[in-house]
């Protein structure tokens, strides 16, 4: 199947069994191919977007009408409209609250199929796992243009879904395949089975055949693969295995289904699969990936109500405050309008809205200098200090990211996470040696901080270095240029408004570092004879001030 045919097939299957299949994740930027797919959606499609308030989804009290009519008027939520398709744009930005609402609707057998459009550009922008796991089809339209659009094959009326028989080996095949592709969730093989049954009904067959299983595997299982259906050791050893390479050997306990099945799968495997498998982060990426998408602001504690609709997107009327504001005027209003009865007269100007105080989560970005000079001086001590800070970060429920810079470049060892175990492991494995590319370290720190900022975290950059910057941004070992570069990046950081703390861990305090802290508009702590404990205290003091 071509990528576009996959999308049209998925839509047809969704039309047959929307309840069990849930929906589809469509990864595509706006373009003719995406428009082509959206044009195929049924007419009664409702569009959702991540900023919708929960009330719009689940229904709630219609305040304006309630006040006007003097009785409680509720409006129905979009989830209970009973339309055949819901289209969620910018699904990668869905906040956790909405994810749960949608997931609950999917679990309770919502009649509407959910099409989640994933428009993520960055690698870390992905649809929350809790949502994507419940949607059967994961498809991508990236790189398709006008020429790839094919008309949907209009099939004659499909067979009755209930009458489709499923042979036992079909289930065995799908489960085995899911395991060999490294898919942990049990929802995946189940959704694949549903897809196979729907596909059989689409093709007017009374029983699930190999063709249906192949289609289901291609549409449901292949995009979720976290590894090739071959022993992982082989993948690691091979320098650059081709994607179309058929596995030469199968693990003993896993009997792979038919060759045909595998070939179909491999055309549909995600292109970045090897990039994920090659590094040993594949397993970890699953965990921290889920965590990263979910971070965001807590919804906060209530504050006193105020009048005037707030700027936020979820104005909620504080009833008591509203009544309290209306009561002093009742006598006047009654005389004015001649109203009789117990009902209070409330005007729009009485409305008071609830406010919430949002506490943003903090992210500590540690940029650790692992160059030769720092390693000589006290890399071990710096590591110890970071570990102490980590324990404190745990107590404050902060997120942590780890950057190391040495040799010619900086490296993001650990993307923002709350998993301290991982941080500690990466930190312990941190090697030392090479030049000091301070500018590169600062630049990566800035990028990480900005990304976090966009996701609603408040980043703090903590730089541990001995200050002898000797590698410029372009990787050349020109001392003067290196210093210029790091000052330039430092100014950028200051402009971006990222909080910084510079910790000098050289043998004696370095003038250039206190100047760097000035350009960063950050705190500076010099620790010539510091031990881990005092380093940690210095940071805590700087953070609290």
């Amino acid at each position: 199947m071509t990528p576009f045919a996959r999308a049209t097939t998925a839509l047809q299957l969704l039309a047959i069994d929307p309840v069990r299949l849930g929906g589809m994740v469509l990864r595509a930027r706006s373009g003719p191919a995406r428009d082509g797919v959206i044009a195929l959606l049924p007419d009664d499609t409702l569009r959702l977007h991540p900023a919708l308030p929960t009330e719009a989804l689940e229904g709630g009290v219609d305040v304006a009408t309630s006040l006007a009519q003097g009785q409680l008027v509720r409006h129905r939520g979009m989830l209970s409209h009973g339309c055949s398709t819901l289209l969620l744009a910018m699904a990668e930005r869905t906040p956790p609250l909405m994810v749960t609402t949608l997931a609950q609707a999917l679990d309770s057998g919502s009649k509407s199929a959910l099409i989640a459009l994933d428009e993520g550009v960055e690698e870390d922008e992905k649809i929350p796992f809790a949502l994507s796991d419940r949607l059967a089809f994961h498809l991508t339209l990236d790189g398709l243009g006008q020429a790839d659009i094919e008309p949907m094959l209009q099939s004659a009326r499909s067979a009755e879904l209930g009458s489709v028989q499923t042979p036992d080996h079909a289930i065995d095949d799908l489960v085995t395949l899911a395991v060999s592709l490294g898919i942990d969730s049990l929802r995946a093989p189940y959704l694949a089975l549903c897809a196979a049954q729907a596909h059989a009904a689409l093709s007017r067959r009374s029983s699930v055949t190999t063709e249906d299983i192949t289609a289901a595997a291609e549409l449901v299982l292949a995009p979720r693969a976290t590894r090739l259906p071959a022993p992982p050791e082989e993948v690691d050893d091979a320098p650059e295995p081709e994607r179309s390479e058929t596995p030469s050997e199968t693990p003993e306990n896993i009997a792979l289904p038919d060759e045909i099945l595998l070939q179909a799968i491999q055309t549909a495997l995600p292109p970045d699969l090897l990039a994920k498998t090659g590094s040993n982060t594949a397993r970890n990426a699953k965990g921290s990936g889920a965590g990263r998408k979910r971070v965001g602001n807590r919804r906060g504690r209530p504050l006193p109500a105020r009048d005037g609709a707030p700027r936020g997107d979820q104005p909620r009327v504080d009833l008591m405050a509203t009544l309290r504001a209306a009561i002093p005027w009742q006598g006047l209003r009654r005389r004015e309008t001649g109203h009789i009865g117990a009902r209070p007269l409330i005007r729009p100007s009485d409305l008071r809205y609830k406010r919430y105080q949002e506490l943003s989560d903090r992210l500590l970005v540690f940029a650790v200098d692992a160059s030769g000079s720092a390693a000589m001086a006290r890399l071990a001590e710096a590591k110890g200090a970071v570990e102490l800070l980590l324990a404190e970060a745990y107590a404050r429920r902060d997120h942590v990211a780890l950057i190391s810079f040495r040799g010619a470049e900086a490296e993001l060892l650990l993307p923002p996470t709350r998993s301290l175990v991982q941080t500690k492991r990466r930190l312990a494995a941190l090697p030392g040696g090479g030049g000091t590319p301070l500018a590169a370290g600062l630049k990566l720190g800035l990028e990480t901080a900005e990304q976090a900022d966009r996701r609603g975290l408040s980043p703090v950059l903590i730089v541990l270095t001995d200050g002898r910057s000797n590698v410029a941004l372009d990787g050349s070992g020109h001392r003067g240029r290196a210093a210029e570069d790091s000052t330039a990046v430092a100014r950028q950081i200051a402009q971006a408004g990222v909080e910084t703390i510079v910790i000098d861990c050289g043998k004696r305090p370095d003038r250039s570092l206190s100047q760097l802290a000035v350009s960063l508009r950050g705190h500076y702590a010099s620790l010539p004879r510091a031990d881990a404990r005092s380093l940690s205290d210095a940071v805590t003091t700087a953070l609290d001030s």
Binding site: I171, D184, S185, S288, P302, L319, P344, I346, K424
Partner: protein, 334 residues
């Protein structure tokens, strides 16, 4: 509404099922915390358990499912003694639930239309005598968590807000589930759950195939599937009822108490809640097994789920605390 998936048809997950049955036998054990991968049947198990349990007798029109007039709060205005049987309530607490929705609040409709001050019961009232289920409990807002803790502890919901002063019984078993990779639970909350279990996806192909098969049968051939498992569910139900009776007569010898205390000291768990829960869980387990006295074997079997989450945690410790508990159990109980 489709009948929930039968409890006896859930494949594997022995520890989770056991923990849930123990709370059904003795609700005072406290809640169950289920941590683990997605798609392992956490929420299915909770709903299945409620369907498995025998129906409860409750006053008609009583918002808190009270069994007698004395238990029904005054504000509910229930005057007739007629009772009816209702299924054990299971209430889902959505992550985004507001405080009003959870505790109950002023009835907007009555306030607006009739100018009356009336109380509209919230989720806590609905969950009385049943189960309160929170998916993704680790992502729940802090102030809602505080509120739940307070109510779960006291068994009573006190509403003092918006000019209302209301109280009603709210005794429920708190069941929380979540994925620890997405954020940890505060230790204060951890401690309030009686039992804690870790679930993982099954690793055996055959087991996974069986899960999918049963799920498919449940969806496609619903009536036949429910009929097929009816007898087994009924047997489980009888066993629970029997165990509830047996629990009253069960003796806990001093040696067992000694074992429990020694175990908790060796593990260094804070406070005495660990001992109490372990004892209760072990007694419920013995009643479940239809044994007449509490023995070491019972304690050994339930110790991991009762104590796992009570250890003082080193945030940088990689090994799971379950392993630590098992090791200490080996040492102490031999």
């Amino acid at each position: 509404m489709k009948q929930p998936f039968p409890f006896s048809a859930i494949v594997g997950q022995t520890e989770m099922k056991r923990a849930m049955l123990l709370t059904a036998i003795d609700p005072s054990i406290g809640g169950v915390l289920v941590f683990g991968d997605r798609g392992t049947g956490k929420s299915t198990a909770v709903r299945a358990l409620a369907a498995l349990l025998p129906p409860i007798k409750a006053l008609k029109d009583c918002p808190v499912n009270a069994a007698t007039l004395a238990e029904s709060p005054d504000w509910a205005g229930v005057t007739r003694k007629t009772t009816h049987k209702i299924a054990t309530p299971v209430v889902d607490l959505p992550l985004g639930a507001s405080e009003d929705r959870v505790t109950g609040a002023l009835d907007i409709e009555k306030a607006l239309t009739r100018g009356e001050k009336a109380f509209q019961p919230g989720l806590l009232a609905q969950a009385n005598r049943g189960y309160l289920y929170i998916d993704e409990v680790n992502l729940l807002e802090d102030h809602i968590v505080d509120l739940l803790l307070d109510v779960a502890q006291s068994g009573e919901n006190v509403v003092e807000r918006e000019g209302l002063s209301i109280r009603h019984p709210a005794r429920f078993v708190l069941v929380g589930s979540g994925n620890p990779e997405e954020g940890e639970l505060r230790p204060q909350l951890l401690d309030r759950f009686g039992l804690s279990v870790d679930v993982t996806s099954p690793t055996e192909i055959a087991e996974r195939v069986e899960v999918i098969k049963r799920r498919d049968a449940y969806e496609t051939d619903h009536t036949a599937f429910m009929l097929r498992w009816q007898a087994e569910d009924a047997a489980l139900r009888d066993q629970v009822l029997h165990a509830r009776k047996a629990l009253k007569k069960l003796k806990a010898p001093d040696s067992a108490l000694h074992d429990v205390a020694e175990l908790c000291i060796a593990l260094g768990s804070d406070g005495l809640r660990g001992e109490l829960t372990l004892l209760k869980a072990a007694r419920a387990y013995a009643a479940w097994r239809d044994d007449t006295a509490l023995t070491r074997a019972h304690i050994r079997d339930v110790a991991p789920m009762a104590l796992r989450h009570r250890l003082r945690r080193d945030p940088l410790d990689e090994a799971g605390s379950g392993a630590r508990v098992c090791r200490v159990v080996e040492d102490v109980l031999g």
